[in-house]
Symmetry: C2
Subunit: 388 residues, 2 copies
């Protein structure tokens, strides 16, 4: 991230590059967060969210007929920094996007948008409501369809009537799929990686545990904790639970086994409070504490609940009927060891899509996170299918 943000993800101040509408081509360096006010948004829940802003980054140059625009959607706790730009900050999907990568930023105009409800610049629970106070507990439930509708306005503002491609992994893949089905004419190609057509009961169940971990933190205060102590313990616990599901049992066991953390002694404890940690506990502590430093707990709830809402068929008949609305060419992929978004769910989606859509398999023992760490395995298929 090249922009200063507070610990809760609220930008300290909006930079001078904040546009009022379309960005003049080349006006801001690649990989810089920009902000677009998109007005008020009527939500699926029936509520209306006023004065919505979306944060986004771009790379490359939109061509004259706006035919080279690619939207890359981030996952649950991701930000807009897909790949590096003018600054040195590395991106989270550099094997996929960048100069010479499958999504070649020398050729395509790449856009990444912070999801509605997030804490990387888009309107979310930590940003000020019209009364100047953070939304906090008042932030309404936002679904993936709500964020897709918001993003369509940003595409309008950028002059992009149709994306050459929309792609993403995990929650990002769900966002991409929702785009292709909601706006068929605006999505020519759609890559749905490591996610199925809807959040399953198990995915909802793990998500509930995570949101409860935050809500039960004594500092949560119903979501109105800004300015006071924050529910860091709850957010870190949510992240631990999530992180276990992002990795395979084999990967955790291969890396950590039953080892004790450094000089700590898991079997030595005079009391309930005092036990040493196993290495895997220390590792998960680290993952939890790392997230706490960069993410807002309310946004974690908001986006997790948006992901729970993921169901491309909702109100659209059967899965086959729903996806038949899309006219995009599809690219579906899964990690073979994923135990949160099972490859079978990707297969179910692929089978429902019109035509013969294969499921490209990332072979990696790591589990779900392979969609990030092993995306390079799909480079040739992506070049062949989409970005020739």
């Amino acid at each position: 991230m090249t922009i200063a943000v507070t610990r809760t993800g609220v930008p300290e101040s909006k930079p001078s590059t904040v546009p009022d509408g379309a960005v003049p081509d080349g006006a801001v360096p690649d990989g810089t967060v920009q902000y677009l006010p998109i007005g008020s948004l009527a939500l699926e829940s029936g509520a209306t969210l006023p004065e919505v802003t979306l944060a986004y980054e771009t790379w490359g140059t939109l061509n004259a007929d706006a035919s080279n625009a690619v939207l890359i959607e981030h996952a649950l706790t991701g930000d807009t920094h897909v790949t590096r730009g003018a600054g040195e900050e590395p991106g989270w999907w550099e094997e996929l996007a960048g100069p010479g990568a499958p999504v070649d930023t020398d050729k395509y105009f790449v856009v990444s948008i912070n999801i509605l409800g997030g804490c990387y610049g888009s309107t979310g629970p930590s940003t000020p409501a019209p009364d100047g106070r953070p939304w906090g507990s008042r932030f309404p439930l936002v679904t993936l369809r709500d964020s897709t509708a918001a993003e369509a306005r940003l595409a309008d503002a950028l002059g992009i009537s149709s994306w050459y491609a929309v792609l993403g992994g995990s929650l990002g893949g769900a966002r991409a799929l929702e785009w292709a089905v909601t706006y068929p004419a605006r999505v020519q190609r759609c890559a749905v990686i490591s996610v199925g057509a809807s959040s399953t009961a198990e995915q909802i169940a793990f998500a509930q545990a995570q949101t409860l971990a935050i809500r039960q933190d004594p500092n949560f205060n119903g979501g109105d904790y800004y300015g006071g102590p924050e529910p860091h313990a709850g957010l870190a616990l949510a992240r631990r639970i999530a992180h276990i599901t992002y990795r395979s049992a084999a990967e955790l066991d291969g890396r950590f086994g039953r080892n004790a953390q450094a000089a700590e002694a898991p079997l030595e404890a005079g009391s309930l409070a005092g036990r040493g940690r196993y290495q895997v506990e220390s590792y998960l502590d680290h993952q939890g504490n790392k997230l706490v430093r960069r993410f807002d707990a309310n946004s974690y709830i908001a986006i997790t609940e948006a992901l729970m809402s993921h169901d491309v068929s909702r109100g659209r008949g059967s899965l086959e009927q729903a996806v038949s609305l899309a006219t995009a060419e599809f690219f579906v992929a899964a990690v073979d060891s994923d135990r949160l978004y099972f490859p079978a769910q990707s297969r179910e989606l692929a089978d429902a899509l019109p035509g013969e859509v294969p499921v490209h398999v990332i072979e990696a023992p790591i589990g779900h996170d392979g969609f990030l760490t092993e995306i390079g395995q799909l480079s040739e298929q992506l070049r062949g299918n989409f970005f020739a």
Copy 2:
């Protein structure tokens, strides 16, 4: 349970059947909780636990040469009531044990012992320390080897020098395995169901999340919550996390899918606080709230940490070397859809055991809990192998 216990599992008063030593044969009705003080116990951690009591139940009659005694070990939140006795209260493993069942209580003298640290009558965090106050935060870490050592004293008191068989599932299976390796001469047959030779990194990781859920409850107070509000929300969250791992993704999705709970509306919420629930959330709420009514949060931590300690090889060389200490005939089984205690872990154990030990497979889509709900599938193999 036929004995009155407080909500924290502390017996209101010890019944008159509390023995000072061996139970006179037939002195108490089958399936009645009895208590045996076993003195102080030196623990693996180096601490000493004074004035330990074990709660247990028995069924049937110990024969003259004490050659028909079978020990059935309960799982994480189980109690000693394996099967019904004089009372009407059904047991939790009636397909396995009872009159005419594979472990035929008309033929065998069946014993079940509440694990050390538990809340069903054995000494645990909720029972009074020598100063009369509940142990609470002062309760030391107890391992499976500690509970096995305690149980050996109970066997001594009952006059059982060698068990015809020791068996259990999940944590109960780990306890059975520890018995067979720690006291080879005292275990003639050993059935290890739905658990491996040690707790893996993943199992430790899920366990940590559960214990943290309790420890982070504002009512936890370091473990000293007796007499005040109890950490029910934390315990219920721990149970939710655990319960997800006890069931397969397919079983959760088949039962609940993405259905809303009754008239609740998961997508209708004016605020972060107010969303309706999905059916699977309501189900897990129910599971959590049910446990809270019958289990002590500190015991949940203590026994979970005992299970984290499960490693039959600790201090005994390789797994092969460790299990070669045992002289029992082994019976190993796993549920095919178990995603917490993978069948591969049962296979690893079976492969390490001396001789050719097959892994009997319970075929059930439910996941780990199949060791309870589908134990009947093993009836013939158990009769053939062990209880002929």
